[in-house]
Amino acid sequence: MAKNVEHGIEDDLNKKLAIQIVKESEDDRLMRLSVGPQHPGSGHFRFTVTVDGDYIVHCDPDPGYVHRGEEKMCEYRNFIQNIPHLERPVIHDSSNIIYSYSLAVEQLVGIEVPRRGQFIRALASERERQIYTLYWLAIYGIFLGHSTMFMWPTGDRELFIDLMDALTGARVTHAFNIPGGVRNDIPDGFKDKCLRNIAYFEKRLKEYEDIFYNNPLFRQRTEGVGILSKEDAIKLGVTGSVLRASGIPYDVRKAEPYDIYNEMDFKVQYMKSGDSFARSYVPFLDMKESCHIMRQLLDKMPDSGEVRAKLQPNPKGAPGEAYRRVESGRGALGYYIVSDGTPKPYRVKISVGSFRNMIALPHLLVGSKLADMPSVYWSLNYWPVEADR
């Protein structure tokens, strides 16, 4: 702590706050509960809730159990060496988390991605978003006591992973979308395999809807629970499905089309109710729309051509900075990279949807019942590892 005082940081306010919390817990009525980090329902994340009987009166998130210092690590490695470790915060959506990094590096280094490379990159990212959403849906299902909904997406996700395996050579962390394009071309017969897979998945999505979203038990536990109004969603700056569930049709793919997304025909899926049900249903609608986008990608993809622009072995970024975003499974995912003209980035800031949506958790939980906690928490599409970075 001595070092902090040296930098002029005081802890007076903290002491005041600590005393306040102790006073709360001395009162017999209130009880402070710790949720996580070992709790199977929260991931590697801890938050405390203070309850008055059944109702939550205070909630304090405490992230950081899986903090890896990704941003600091970036400063020690060059632009290419940074690719594999930057995927680790969210391995189920690794194509998207590296996508915006690639866009920012391309802007700094000054290269254009070949057209065929752009299509394959977008295809991988759409597929990956579905894989992430299926994984999240499975966990959401099991924590609301719906074990079929755990089994089905987990099983279907395996087919997708096989497809990504055929495309990239790895099951989850692909290091496939890289600065300059994609690592390799699509293998023979991939197009047909992918189309068959999409057709199967669209059939399955109808079954998901019947067994999960139309299930009266599920609807009772989510409808009208944890309502985030449109005004609050803007004020809190939430993103992704949480934002779109509150009636704001905002999607980075439409707002700031990257690569070939301005040629794609798709709708931004959103709902107006802003409750847990809407937040769980919007990603489902996104998965449907993703199938539609993937069909177009496969259809319009040029038959031949380069998939990657040649980079120098150790590319140097032009001095300056870049801030680029993509739409990931959890919302806008931005990289702010400062380059000082050396092969290593001077500063990398990863702005992730999970971290941005965390602020909605205390906002939604305070005033709701403790029993609604899992349904609200998982509807936020929160991925602790990504938030901690």
Partner: protein
């Protein structure tokens, strides 16, 4: 594979370095600057008109003394202000320009200048014409006594981001209720890790 066979010799020195996103943005992309290779940091193409209009609104309200323009690119604007003016400027941006939330707060340590730069990346959900834009509001503070006024009363969404900046760079946000540990362990007693003098062990 086959993609690597063809090599273009000068892919790395395009004239539009650090200029604009590679995807076509809605605003027209200006032609590449025809000036001879001057210092690369200052080689910006002509500013796009829409973004220029946004900046001129701020300049006309606050004057040239308070606002320093870092760059105006398609969909991206960055201005630098003094810490004393930041609350006023941020309030103006929110109320008059339509940027309604903070996407990220990024701090960068510059030991050479003995300063820390804190950037608020601001976006807009409520206005359709601004949806792809990111307004970067930057300010600099001394490293030795890093203090900045908080913006949580203007941008509520900056709360956790500022808390993260506090612990990662040691910038004390005056008026922020909780300048305390967030992601780092509660008993962290070392330098703020994103300061440049903090070294990863063994490197």
């Amino acid at each position: 594979m086959t993609s690597e066979l063809k090599e273009k010799p000068t892919t790395n020195s395009s004239p539009q370095q650090s200029s604009s996103p590679s995807s076509p943005p809605p605003s027209p992309k200006p032609a590449a600057g025809s000036s001879p290779p001057s210092p690369p940091a200052k080689r910006e193409p002509e500013s796009p008109p829409f973004e220029k209009g946004i900046v001129s609104q701020i300049i006309s309200h606050f004057g040239n003394d308070k606002i320093k323009i870092s760059y105006i690119r398609p969909l991206r604007i960055k201005i630098n202000v003094n810490p004393a003016d930041i609350v006023e400027v941020a309030t103006f941006i929110r109320d008059n320009l339509g940027f309604d939330h903070a996407e990220a707060v990024s701090g960068t340590d510059y030991p050479k200048d003995d300063q820390i730069e804190v950037i608020y990346q601001l976006g807009s959900y409520s206005r359709d014409d601004l949806e792809g834009h990111v307004f970067s509001l930057a300010t600099r503070t001394n490293r030795d006594d890093a203090r900045l006024p908080t913006l949580i009363n203007v941008y509520r969404s900056a709360e956790y981001h500022e808390r993260e900046t506090f612990e990662m760079l040691g910038v004390y946000f005056e008026g922020h209720p909780r300048n305390e540990r967030f992601i780092l362990p509660e008993d962290w007693a070392d330098l703020p890790p994103l300061r440049k003098e903090f070294r990863i062990r063994g490197r």
